[in-house]
Structures are given as structure tokens and as C-alpha cells.
Symmetry: C2
Subunit: 244 residues, 2 copies
């Protein structure tokens, strides 16, 4: 993998914006060779967002698609009275823009400083038409997101507060992204999002999330190094709890 990464970078001319892309092989671009990638890239642009800033709002015309190269986002939807549900936390390498609708169904906001590759949807669709492998890749991504969404459906429909929090921690660990540092310390996870975001993802209130984390700590299943850093002490019991 290390080898492939170096090799792929070498294929690209110096100064090509994708040379340094940290998620090049992870993301949809990973299946394109350098010549294709150059053509692809010319139709795009790099955009940055500070924490709290929005990439697009629900209801916006879905005129672009994005590839997240750095940082963490949240995908959320508001009910008329202000209730909020978060449908997911895109991480580096994730693709935004799988929809058949004209408008975005969810708002995408940065949680940490974020960098995205932006492409016009029309141009992107045209590019996909001529690259079957890219279409295949999109299908694979959609299938994975569908599986994740249905997992969240089970969590929200039938799990208790304690089970939801346990499931969430393990899910974050499975992604194994230590936001910011990029390191992968075994048995540790960093929570890039606030308690409010966690609550809105799990269908709970912030006080309940806090209480359940404290309970997990008291039961010696986890340890809270800082508010944002969690160490797994007894992963097996955590997994049992998460599965109900």
C-alpha cells in the first residue's frame, strides 16, 4: 500500500493538485490513472471550511458533488420546530452527493477544519458516463452507505440509550480515524464532534449521552482521558452491550 501510494504520486506531474491528496487511493479517484485524473481534476476545485461552516444546506440545489479530503463533517436535517437529526459523520475519503433528487436532503457542515474537492454535478455525471469503473465505485459506496444507514435504523428503532452510546463508540473505532493527528492508536478514539452532535446522531439528549458515558466509565468499560478522548478498557463487554 505504501508502495502503491508512492508510485501513484510519481505518475503525476509536479504541481498537480492531487499529488498530495491524503485520500487519493481511498476515494473515488483511487481507481483512475493519472491521465484520467488530470482530466477529472480540471473540472473541480478545492474548497475549505472552518468548524461550523456549511458546505451545503438541505433544500439547496444539488449542483455539485464533493470528495472530502480532510476533516470531519456532519449530515443533518432539521424539523420545522428545531429538532435535529444527524444522519452521518463523513470522514476523509468519503463522497458526498449520492442522490437522484435535485435538492440536497441534508445539510453538510464542517465539525473540524475541512477540505473538499468540489465538482460540478453535470460535469461529474458526464465523466462517470465515460468511466464504468467510476460508476462501479459509486455503486459500491452507495451500498456501504445504505448498510450504515440501516444499521442506524436498528440502533434508533430498538436500542436503549446505553446500547446506542456503546454502539457509537465502537462504530467510531471501526473507522479508526483519529481526527487531527491522523494517528491510529490502538484502544483509543478521538471524538471530533461535540456531545450535542453525538446526541443528535443517537436520537438522545445531551444529558443522556453524558450520563451514559459516565456510566460506562463507572463500569470500567471505558476511560475518559479528556472529554474528547476515550480509551477502551473492556472492549468485549462493550460489544456485548452494543448488540443488546
Amino acid at each position: 500500500m505504501e508502495m502503491r501510494s508512492i508510485h501513484a504520486a510519481a505518475e503525476l506531474e509536479a504541481g498537480h493538485p492531487c499529488v498530495d491528496c491524503p485520500v487519493r487511493l481511498l476515494a473515488i479517484c483511487g481507481i483512475l490513472n493519472s491521465e484520467e485524473l488530470r482530466k477529472f481534476k480540471t473540472s473541480g476545485a478545492t474548497v475549505k471550511r472552518a468548524p461550523g461552516e456549511t458546505v451545503f444546506f438541505e433544500g439547496d440545489v444539488a449542483s455539485h458533488v464533493y470528495n472530502l479530503t480532510a476533516g470531519v463533517l456532519r449530515l443533518s436535517k432539521l424539523l420545522p420546530d428545531g429538532r435535529r437529526q444527524i444522519a452521518g459523520f463523513p470522514f476523509p475519503g468519503d463522497f458526498l452527493g449520492i442522490t437522484m433528487e435535485d435538492e440536497h436532503a441534508f445539510t453538510a457542515e464542517a465539525i473540524t477544519p475541512a477540505t473538499l474537492c468540489q465538482f460540478s454535478r453535470a460535469r461529474f455525471d458526464g465523466f462517470v458516463d465515460t468511466h464504468p469503473l467510476l460508476e462501479r465505485r459509486l455503486y459500491t459506496i452507495a451500498a456501504h452507505e445504505l448498510a450504515a444507514a440501516r444499521q442506524q435504523v436498528v440502533l434508533l428503532g430498538r436500542k436503549t440509550a446505553a446500547e446506542r452510546v456503546a454502539s457509537f463508540l465502537l462504530m467510531l473505532d471501526a473507522r479508526r480515524i483519529s481526527s487531527g493527528s491522523g494517528e491510529k492508536l490502538d484502544g483509543f478514539i478521538t471524538l471530533p464532534m461535540s456531545r450535542v452532535d453525538i446526541a443528535d446522531y443517537l436520537g438522545l439528549r445531551i444529558e443522556t449521552v453524558s450520563r451514559e458515558l459516565s456510566a460506562l466509565k463507572a463500569s470500567r468499560l471505558i476511560r475518559l482521558t479528556t472529554t474528547q478522548t476515550i480509551r477502551f478498557v473492556d472492549r468485549e463487554r462493550l460489544e456485548q452491550l452494543a448488540e443488546g
Copy 2:
């Protein structure tokens, strides 16, 4: 549409099993011409299931994919202690088998008498490889299912019992399938599933579903002709309720 249907049927040799398929144009096969369809079909088989019978269990090796041609199914998952969550109700024309995993994540069972076209996954994948339009169609289906799943996430995470039931009725109406009869009576819907199934889809208990339906009836938003047949009396207020 009527014309196209007749024309398409005429292209097929007599006795071809797809001639009479009621969802031919709706389903994935709709994009294939007759020659392709014949090759495709030879790799498949027709299977039938009575209400309550299973098409596949969660955990089963996903050795086949299916196209539902008649009837209604439920996609469900059990937690170890018996809690059940239903992730969706496949209707005629729906495709089953979007997954990148080796095993099915959900159990698929018939709610009404059901008929499915079954294909070996390996053969199906091979067929998809040589038919980009089919791949495109699969991506479209996956995108729609993802949107539906995320809508359910919002419902389960943030809506009240009354809002969930109202949303559910409107969602069924949007599909506009009167199970069994195939008729589309405006302002009526037929519920092919039991109260238990509705409850397990909405993350509620059966008593709560029953109470909320009674409350909607008392508020004159709906009328219950039979337990399985619902008439919309005030759709606008129902929609307001459903959106929170």
C-alpha cells in the same frame, strides 16, 4: 406506457417467462431488450413464498439476488433478546440484494403471497459487468434506498409516535400500491402488514400504533374502513403532523 408494454411483450417469444411479468418495465429488467433479457432470464428462477415464509435469513450467505414481482415483503433484523426492527417493506418491482457483504444483514419474509425472480449472485454480477445500463440502474436503486433509509433515520431519531404513524401512512400512499388488487383508489390505502409489523418499523409498540391510529380517526384526519383499509380525510393536516 401501455403501448410500450405491449410492444415489449411482442418482442418476446411466446412462453418466455418474462412475457407476463407485471413489473417488467418497473424493475431492473426494464432496461434490457428482449435478446439480453432472454440470456439474463436463463440464469434465474421463479420462486414463490406464502405469508410468513422466509426468502433469506440475516446471516445467510448472500448467494442470490432477487427481483420481487408480486406481493409485499418485510426486511427485519432481530437483536439477541428478540427485539425486532423492520428496515423496509419491499413492494413489487423492488430489487433485493444490494450489499457488498458476504452475508445478508436482514431477514426477508413474505407478508402477502409473493413471487420473486431469483438469480445467482455470481452470474448476476457477471451479467452486470457486461451491461453498463444495468449497473447504472443498480446505482439509481441504491441511491433511492439510501434516501429512504435516511428518511427513516429522521423519523426514528426525532419524531413522536403520532408523527411516525402519520408519516408512515403518507409514505405508503406515496408508493400507491393497493396490495392484492393492484388498483389505485385515490384517498385510500391498504395496509398489507399487521400492527406488529408497523410497530416494528416505526420503533413503537403495537398498542401505541393502535392508539395513534385511533387518535387520528378521532381527530377526523383519517377513517378506518376496515383494520387494513384507511381513507385519508384531511391529507393536509396529516402532512403537517407528519413533518412535525
